[in-house]
């Protein structure tokens, strides 16, 4: 039911973990649906994502999309990162089973929240 890319990211997820001194953290999902994704960002002075990590509770699709998005945006500017959509993440993984498209495909939402959190933190500092 899953593509090879999904299984690859599920079995060997990239960038798992936390960033202790993260300057942006975002979480989406809830335990009711059984998917929770949390993304940690380290954004540098030039507004480039220097480091990104995730922790996810959920099915293989949830874990794979989390892993994939970290790979897609690491080293990118936050403005470019914000352009990534859930649909693109799924496409990069060779597609997801239809029922997973809406429930477990939330990585871009988590990233967006993390970036917003970073921006809010920045605004406070100024």
């Amino acid at each position: 039911m899953y593509t090879e890319q999904v299984m690859d990211h599920f079995t060997n997820p990239r960038n798992v973990g936390e960033i202790k001194d993260a300057n942006g953290v975002g979480e989406v999902g809830n335990m009711k649906c059984g998917d929770i994704m949390r993304i940690y960002l380290k954004v540098n002075e030039d507004e480039v994502i220097e480091d990104i990590k995730f922790r996810t509770f959920g099915c293989a699709a949830a874990i794979a999309t989390s892993s994939k998005i970290t790979e897609m945006v690491k080293g990118k500017s936050i403005s470019d990162a914000l352009k990534v959509t859930n649909k693109q993440v799924a496409e990069e993984l060779g597609g997801l089973p239809a029922p997973k498209m809406h429930c477990s495909n939330l990585a871009a939402d988590a990233l967006k929240k993390a970036i917003e959190n970073y921006q809010a933190n920045r605004a406070k500092q100024r």
Binding site: M7, M31, G34, F54, T56, F57, C59, A61, I63, C103
Partner: protein, 388 residues
């Protein structure tokens, strides 16, 4: 890679002896059982022999057995058939919150058609209480349907007591015995049931065939129309080879039931002990009143589908009650009815053991499981490294 099948509650491997008896009815004895020539008579005789075997296994009479395409059809036939037959007497049906969808959804469909359906709650072990059934019965009650043993958590219901109660009140009592046959004794008189559903592929028979036991004198309305087969209650040319397979499979299933069940239970207990030794795990289902081969555990802080896939990559087959595997957005209705919180339900795993499992199978699962759990927990945002 080692392959370990621990999903016998989903389906079982066809027994070789069963296959051997079925094969001639797919080839040389291909006659239509309704034909009066020798081809037809050969097939008819095979069906009637299978009917005797099913009846004997259940402690019933042959004429009380109706062959169907499986338990889903048997459940539909039983529930809809009684509901229509007794519509003049009343419109109240009692069932439980942990029934298989073949019963549960059929009752909900009748509710939409205007029947009054009481869905009884269960306790934390998935058990229906006899008193709750007694309290729910009204003078409009025309059917009670409670499963014999639950398919997800294995809890064995007090069917004989509920049956006694229904008998006293003159209410037809149906039980879905799909998971019970071949695992615990099933005798229609001891259980006080009027209708009972079963399916061959759960006890090493073929898929696509089952039966409904219908106690003599129980009225049932027809809802499929066609030929005169199966007393017109299940018209259509019979699945002869399947029925032959069902007959042989049930004969083998009830043979030496106790030693087989004891051996499986011992393996199950070993698996249970080993899995519950992993931190933050919980047994789902009744600690004692449970099918010998069933083990349902929740692995907290991780999700069931991830667990299943990880186990599958190691050659181990099992199932889960998580939303991702239920085909809906919600986790298993059984686990939710037992009062589990969402996380515990999403992290549930069902292992169901069968006659082919060995001690080595269990050792292998226990060997690979801790690493799988640790890996998924290390990724989990809700796991704080050991402390809740």
């Amino acid at each position: 890679m080692r392959k370990v099948y621990l999903d016998h509650a989903a389906t079982t491997r066809l027994n070789e002896e069963v296959l051997k008896e079925m094969l001639p009815y797919l080839t040389e004895h291909f006659g239509n059982p309704s034909s009066i020539h020798s081809y037809g008579r050969k097939a008819r005789a095979a069906i009637e022999e299978a009917r005797e075997r099913v009846a004997t296994a259940l402690g019933a009479a042959a004429e009380e057995i109706i062959f169907t395409s499986g338990a889903t059809e048997a459940n539909n036939l039983a529930i809809r058939g009684i509901a229509r037959a007794l519509r003049e007497k009343g419109n109240h049906i009692i069932t439980s919150a942990v029934e298989h969808h073949a019963v549960y959804d059929t009752c909900l469909a009748l509710q939409k058609e205007g029947f009054d359906v009481t869905i009884l709650p269960v306790d934390e072990y998935g058990m229906v209480s006899v008193n709750a059934v007694a309290d729910a019965i009204t003078d409009k009650t025309i059917l009670v349907s409670i499963m014999l043993a639950n398919n997800e958590v294995g809890t064995i219901m007090p069917i004989a007591e509920i049956g006694k109660l229904c008998r006293e009140r003159g209410i037809p009592f149906h039980t879905d015995a799909v998971q019970a046959i071949g695992n615990i004794p099933v005798n229609v008189d001891n259980l006080n049931v009027d209708l009972l559903s079963l399916s061959a592929h759960k006890f090493y028979g073929p898929k696509g065939v089952g039966a409904l036991y219908l106690r003599k004198g129980t009225r049932l309305s027809v809802y499929h129309h066609g030929g005169a087969q199966e007393r017109k209650l299940r018209p259509g040319t019979e699945n002869v080879a399947g029925i032959v397979g069902l007959g042989k499979a049930i004969e083998l299933a009830v043979k030496d039931l106790e030693p087989k069940a004891n051996r499986i239970r011992a393996l199950r207990d070993k698996l249970q002990e080993g899995l519950l030794a992993i931190e933050h795990t919980k047994l789902n289902g009744h600690p004692e009143q449970r099918l010998p081969g069933n083990l349902n555990v929740s692995i907290l802080y991780v999700e069931g589908e991830s667990l299943i896939l990880s186990l599958d990559l190691k050659g181990i087959a099992c199932s889960s009650g998580s939303a991702c595997t239920s085909g809906s957005l919600d986790p298993s209705h059984v686990l939710m009815a037992m009062g589990l919180d969402h996380q515990t339900a999403h992290g549930s795993l069902r292992f169901s053991l069968g006659v082919d499992n060995t001690e080595e199978d269990i050792d292998y699962v226990l060997k690979v499981m801790p690493d799988i759990v640790a890996r998924l927990r290390s990724m989990s945002p809700v796991y704080q490294g050991g402390s809740k």
